[in-house]
Symmetry: C2
Subunit: 647 residues, 2 copies
C-alpha cells in the first residue's frame, strides 16, 4: 500500500499520455495533493491540472514524464495511468490503454506511425472503424449544449448535431428551407413522401421507429442528423405542437437534436460541420489547412493499401454520387430508382401511371417519366466518371406513391382531372396487409412489364448519351425481390431487348451486367438456378433479415429491446448481420451461385454494408464489394482493411 494522503508532499492523480479528446501529444490529467484515489473520483475537491505538478512537485513531475515516455515506448499505445506520490516518491498504481474519442483515435494512431512507435498496419487495426463517424459528424458546441434545456431522448440514429425551427410536415420544411430557414423536421414517423422535407431539414426527429426505420435509413444515407423513436415526445400534427416533459414547442420554435447522443433540446445549440466534410464534400476548406483532414487522409491511404474488399455507395442522385466518390466509393452498389420519383412534379406522373386504367394509359404516363429518369441517369453516369453503377428497378409497393390523406387526395384529383373517389378506390385496392411481403420488387415488373421497359430505356438512352462524351458507362441492372428463377429470366429478356434496340437506334454498344438482389430466403436456396441468368448477386440484407427472421424492421421495437436484455440476440440484427441465420443464407448463396457461375460478382447493398462487424463478415465470405451510404464509406473502407489484416 502507498498513501497519497501523508501530507502536502503526497498526492494522487490520473493521467493520459496524450489528450484522450483531441489526441494531441500532450501530457493530460489531474491530481489532488494529500489525497487518495477515491477522492479524485468522488469529486469533492477540485483537482489540479497535471501541468501544475511541475511547479508543485518538480521531481515527481520529472519522474512522471519519464514514466510516460517509457510506458508509451513499451506499450506502444496511449496510456491512462493512476499514480500516487507518497512523500515525494512516485508510484504508478495502474496503467492501461486509454479510452479516446474518434478524433483522438485517428490522430494518435497516425502520429504514432510518424513517431515509429507502431506500423501502418497496427495503426489501421487500432482505430475502431465506427469511430470515424465522429470525425464526420457536425458537433454541438459543448458550452452551448450545457445551457440548453434537454426535453427528451431517443435513439442516436444519425450522428451529429442539428438546430433549427421545428416543423411537422415535409411541405413546411421545404417551404421554410427555401426561405433560408434552418428547420428540424419532427414526425411521428417518416415515409418516402417526406423525403423532400427530410432533405430540406437540418435534422430529423421521430417519436416512433427504430434505428432501421425509414427516418434512420435516409438520415444515414444522407449523413443527416437524426434522433428517432423518442417515445416520450408527443407530436400533434393537427395542433402542430411537440410536447415533452412539460415543455411544449409550437411550429417554428427553435429546437436542437444531438444524433450522436440521441438527445433532444428546446432552443438553439450552436453547431459546426466536420472539417473532413468541409474539405471533401463542401469544398469550403483546403485540405492542406486541416490537420484533422490530413490525419484522416493519411489513415485512409493505408487503409486502401491493405483492404481487398471494394467499397461502393448506396446513392440515388448525382449529388449523392459526387459525395460518395469524394469519400472514396469505387462505384454505386445501389441506386434506388424510385427515390427519383418523389422529386418535384415527377410524383404526379408516377401517380398518373398508378391510377392508369389500362396498359395504354400506363404507357402514356410512363412516357412522361422516361425523360426524368434518363436525366437522372445522365447525371449519375457523368458523376461516376466510368465507375460501375448498380441500378435497381422499381421496388416499393405502388401504394407508397399515393396520398392517404383525404385533403391530399382531393388536391391530386384536381391536378390530374380525375375524381377523388377514383383515387381513394385505387388506394383502397392497393392496400396490403403486409406490404413488405406484397406486390413489390420484380412482381411489379412482371405484372406491368412496361415499367421495366421504361426503366431499361432510360438507363440505356442515358448511357448512350454519356458514352458520347467519352465517359465510360458501366450499368449493372439489378432486378429486385427475385425468388423464382423465371422471374429474373423474364425481366432480363426485357432488359436485353431494350438494350439491343437502343444500341441500334443510337448506333453504339453497351457494356452492362444484369443481376439480382438476394433478399428472399428462397432466392438463396435456388441460387444455383438463378445464377444461370444472373451475372451478379447483391445481398439485400435489410429485406433478407426481415424474411429470414420473420421480423419486421418497423415493428420490432416492441420486442427487440427485451430480446437484447434477455440475451436472445447478440446485436440488433437490422444493424449488424445475423451471421448464423442471414449469414448462413449468404454462404449458401455464394456456394450455389459459384457452382453455376464461378466468376459471379457478389456484393451487399443492405444497410449492413456500412457496419464494421458486418463488413468483416462480408470479407470473410469472400464478397467482391460492400455498398453503404456515402457517409459510411470511410468506415466500411477501414473495416475492410481491418478484416484483411485479421489472421
Amino acid at each position: 500500500m502507498v498513501f497519497g494522503n501523508m501530507g502536502d508532499t503526497s498526492a494522487t492523480g490520473v493521467a493520459f499520455t496524450r489528450d484522450p479528446a483531441s489526441g494531441e501529444r500532450v501530457f493530460y490529467g489531474e491530481y489532488l495533493i494529500n489525497a487518495q484515489g477515491e477522492d479524485v473520483v468522488a469529486g469533492v475537491r477540485t483537482p489540479h491540472p497535471i501541468a501544475d505538478l511541475a511547479r508543485q512537485m518538480p521531481a515527481a513531475h520529472k519522474e512522471l514524464m519519464k514514466v510516460r515516455a517509457k510506458l508509451e515506448n513499451h506499450l506502444k499505445d496511449m496510456q491512462e495511468l493512476e499514480f500516487t506520490i507518497e512523500d515525494k516518491r512516485l508510484y504508478i498504481l495502474q496503467t492501461r490503454n486509454g479510452k479516446r474519442t474518434g478524433h483522438a483515435a485517428v490522430r494518435i494512431a497516425v502520429e504514432m506511425v510518424g513517431e515509429k512507435l507502431i506500423t501502418k498496419k497496427e495503426a489501421v487495426r487500432r482505430v475502431p472503424a465506427d469511430s470515424l463517424a465522429h470525425l464526420l459528424a457536425p458537433i454541438f458546441d459543448r458550452r452551448s449544449e450545457s445551457q440548453a434545456k434537454k426535453i427528451g431522448s431517443g435513439l442516436a440514429a444519425g450522428p451529429g448535431a442539428a438546430s433549427g425551427h421545428v416543423v411537422f410536415s415535409a411541405a413546411e420544411a421545404v417551404a421554410r428551407s427555401e426561405k433560408g430557414e434552418k428547420v428540424v423536421l419532427a414526425r411521428i414517423e417518416t415515409s418516402p413522401e417526406d423525403l423532400r422535407g427530410m432533405i430540406a431539414a437540418e435534422g430529423i426527429l421521430t417519436s416512433r421507429g427504430g434505428v432501421s426505420s425509414h427516418a434512420a435509413l435516409v438520415a444515414r444515407q444522407m449523413g443527416k442528423v437524426c434522433v428517432c423513436g423518442a417515445t416520450g415526445i408527443q407530436i400533434d400534427y393537427r395542433k402542430r405542437t411537440l410536447s415533452a416533459n412539460g415543455t411544449t414547442l409550437k411550429q417554428g420554435d427553435y429546437m436542437s437534436i444531438d444524433g450522436t447522443a440521441g438527445e433532444v433540446f428546446a432552443g438553439e445549440v450552436a453547431t459546426a460541420p466536420s472539417e473532413i466534410v468541409q474539405v471533401l464534400v463542401d469544398r469550403s476548406l483546403d485540405g492542406k489547412k486541416s490537420a484533422t483532414y490530413q490525419q484522416y487522409a493519411k489513415l485512409m491511404d493505408w487503409v486502401d493499401e491493405f483492404r481487398k474488399l471494394n467499397v461502393r455507395a448506396n446513392a440515388d442522385t448525382p449529388e449523392q454520387v459526387a459525395n460518395a466518390v469524394a469519400f472514396g466509393a469505387e462505384g454505386i452498389g445501389l441506386c434506388r430508382t424510385e427515390h427519383m420519383f418523389f422529386e418535384g412534379d415527377r410524383i404526379d406522373a408516377m401517380r398518373e401511371m398508378i391510377l392508369a386504367g389500362g396498359k395504354e394509359d400506363r404507357a402514356h404516363a410512363l412516357a412522361k417519366l422516361l425523360p426524368y429518369q434518363r436525366d437522372d441517369f445522365i447525371g449519375i453516369f457523368t458523376a461516376l466518371k466510368g465507375l460501375p453503377a448498380t441500378i435497381r428497378f422499381l421496388d416499393p409497393p405502388l401504394h407508397e406513391f399515393l396520398p392517404n390523406d383525404p385533403a391530399q387526395q382531393e388536391e391530386l384529383a384536381n391536378k390530374l382531372g380525375v375524381s377523388v373517389e377514383q383515387i381513394s378506390r385505387r388506394v383502397h385496392e392497393l392496400h396490403e396487409f403486409n406490404p413488405m411481403l406484397g406486390h413489390r420488387g420484380c412482381r411489379l415488373g412482371i405484372v406491368y412489364p412496361e415499367i421495366s421497359e421504361m426503366q431499361a430505356r432510360a438507363i440505356f438512352e442515358a448511357a448512350a448519351q454519356v458514352q458520347g462524351k467519352d465517359i465510360k458507362v458501366r450499368p449493372e441492372i439489378m432486378i429486385p425481390l427475385v425468388g423464382f428463377p423465371r422471374e429474373l429470366k423474364l425481366q432480363i429478356e426485357i432488359v436485353r431487348r431494350v438494350a439491343e434496340k437502343v444500341a441500334k437506334e443510337k448506333k453504339t454498344k453497351f457494356h452492362y451486367l444484369v443481376g439480382t438482389m438476394i433478399e428472399i430466403p428462397r432466392a438463396a436456396l435456388v441460387a444455383d438456378e438463378i445464377a444461370r441468368d444472373a451475372e451478379f448477386f447483391s445481398f439485400g440484407t435489410n429485406d433478407l433479415t426481415q424474411t429470414a427472421l420473420g421480423m419486421s424492421r418497423d415493428d420490432s421495437g416492441s420486442f427487440l429491446p427485451a430480446y437484447a436484455e434477455l440475451d436472445i440476440v447478440d446485436a440488433n440484427p437490422f444493424a449488424s448481420i445475423d451471421q448464423k441465420g442471414v449469414g448462413r443464407l449468404m454462404e449458401i448463396t455464394r456456394d450455389l451461385g459459384r457452382k453455376t457461375r464461378p466468376d459471379i460478382k457478389l456484393g451487399i447493398c443492405g444497410e449492413h454494408g456500412g457496419e464494421p462487424t458486418s463488413v468483416k463478415f462480408c470479407h470473410r465470405l469472400g464478397l467482391d464489394y460492400v455498398s453503404c451510404s456515402p457517409f459510411r464509406i470511410p468506415i466500411a473502407r477501414l473495416a475492410a482493411a481491418q478484416a484483411a489484416l485479421e489472421k
Copy 2:
C-alpha cells in the same frame, strides 16, 4: 373410315362401361341413328340413351356389351368409348379410361376389387385423393340449381353447397342462427372476430381474399361451404346489401353458394349433407344402411393398411376433435389456443388482459382466462381418449383481439369501465406495418411470460383432472415462431417449471413433450441448436411459405394469377408446398434436427398437410405425421397411402 350416317341401320355414340357420375356398374351412354361423331358433340339432335339400342339394334347392342366386358377385363378400369355402327356392324373408334366424379371413383375402385379386376393396392392408387372431398361435401339438388339465378362466381374455397338468409355481420349470423334460421355470411373479408358468425352460418361468401384467406382456412377446417374472392360482388355493410350483375339482395334475402364450383346464386337451392358425414359426424345415419359409406369405409381400411405417415388433425375445440377422431385422426397436430379466446365472454377477459397497464393487471385478467382454457383442454383431452395433442401457445398479434370500429370500441369501454380513448390509444400502439412479421408468436410469451405461464397451467391442470378419470393425456406443447434457440429455451423453462408445480399440487405425473414450430427460415438454418431443447418440430408451412418466399398470403392475389399464367410458379405455393424453396428448408431442418436428436418427432401442421401432393412430399421427407383440418383427414390418409405405394 367408317360411317354412322349410312342410313337407319347406322349409328354413332359414346358410352361408359360404368356410370361416371355414380360409379354404378351399368352401361351408360348415348347414341344417334344415322349420324357421325361430331353430330353427337354438336348437340343439334337429342341422342337416345344407350339402353334403347338393345331394342333398335339388338345385335350391335349385344356386341357392344361383349366389348364392354372385354375392355374392362383387359384394361382393368372404367372405359369411355366411342363407337360407330355402319350398316349394323359395330366399330370401336376409341377407348380410354373414363373421367369420373369422386363418388364414382371410390365406388368403381372398391367394386373392381370385389370383382377381382384389380388389387386393393391398385384401388388405393387409383382414387384421386382430392376427390374424397366430393364424397364429404353436401351437394345442391341439381334440378333446383338449374332453376336458380346465378349472380356471380369466385374461388371454390370450401366444397359443398349452402343456402340461407344472407347476413353481413357475425353478430347477425349468430342472432339469426340462434333463432333457428339458416344463414349465409357475406363479408368483404373475414377476420378472427367473425369466427362465431362463421360457425353459425351454413356458408361463407367473401368478395376479397384467396383460397388461403382467413375465410377459406376456417371454412376448410370446419368443413364449411365457402366461396371466396367473388370480386364481382359488391358488399355494402352500411346499407346491408349485396349487389352483382344487376341483382341486389338485402339482408335476410335468400341466397345459395356452391363451394365446389365457386358459384353464387340468388334464392334458395335445396341441399343434402353427405351420407358419410351423416354416419361419422352427425351420427344420424346407420353406416350399414349407406352404400356410399360402406365403399368409403372399405377403401379407408385398405388405405390404413398401406400408409406409413400418421395423420393428425388441426382442431381447436372438443367438437372439432370428436369430428377429427371420427375421420380417423391419430391425434391433434395443431390446437390453436387463441381460437378459444373468441368464444362468448372470454374475448372480454382477453381484451382486459391486453389493455392492462402493468404486469399485475395483466395477471388479474389472465386469472379470468385460466378456467376457460382449462375447461377447453379438459374437453379436448377427454375427446382424444389418450391420443396425443399438440397445443400451440398464443400466436397472433394482440391487436387482432381488439375492435377497430369506434362503435365497438365504445361498447367495450362501457363493458370494461375504461375510457374509449384508452382503447383507441392501445389499438393505435399495437398497430403494425407488417403484422405477419411483428409482435406475435413466442415474442408475446417472451415479453409477457405470464401469458405462457397461464397457458401452461391451464394445460397441466386439465391434464391432471382428465388423468384422474383414467384417461391418458399426452400434451405436446408447441412454442410458435421460434427463430433463436434461446427463445425456445426461455419458454421451455416456464413450461417445465409450471408442470412440476402443478404435478406437486395435484400429486400426479405428466407425460408431455415440448417442441416448436418451424415457420421461420432462421429456425430451419439453426435447427441443430434448436433441437437441443425441442423434443419435436412441427413445420408451420403457412408462415414458412410466407417468409421463405417473402410473399404475403393475403396480398398475393394481385400477382399470383399472373405468376401462374407466366409459368413462374407450378402451383399456388399456399395450396401445395413449394418443394424447391420451402421444401429445401424442411430438408435442412430434418437433417440438422436429427443430427442433434436422432429421434426428434417431425410433423407438419400448415394447411398443406391436407393437400395430396404436399402429403406425398412429407412422406418422402420421412416425417412422422401430417396434420390437417378434420374434413381433409380422409384425403391426407389416402394420399399418405399412395405415397407409401409409390416406388
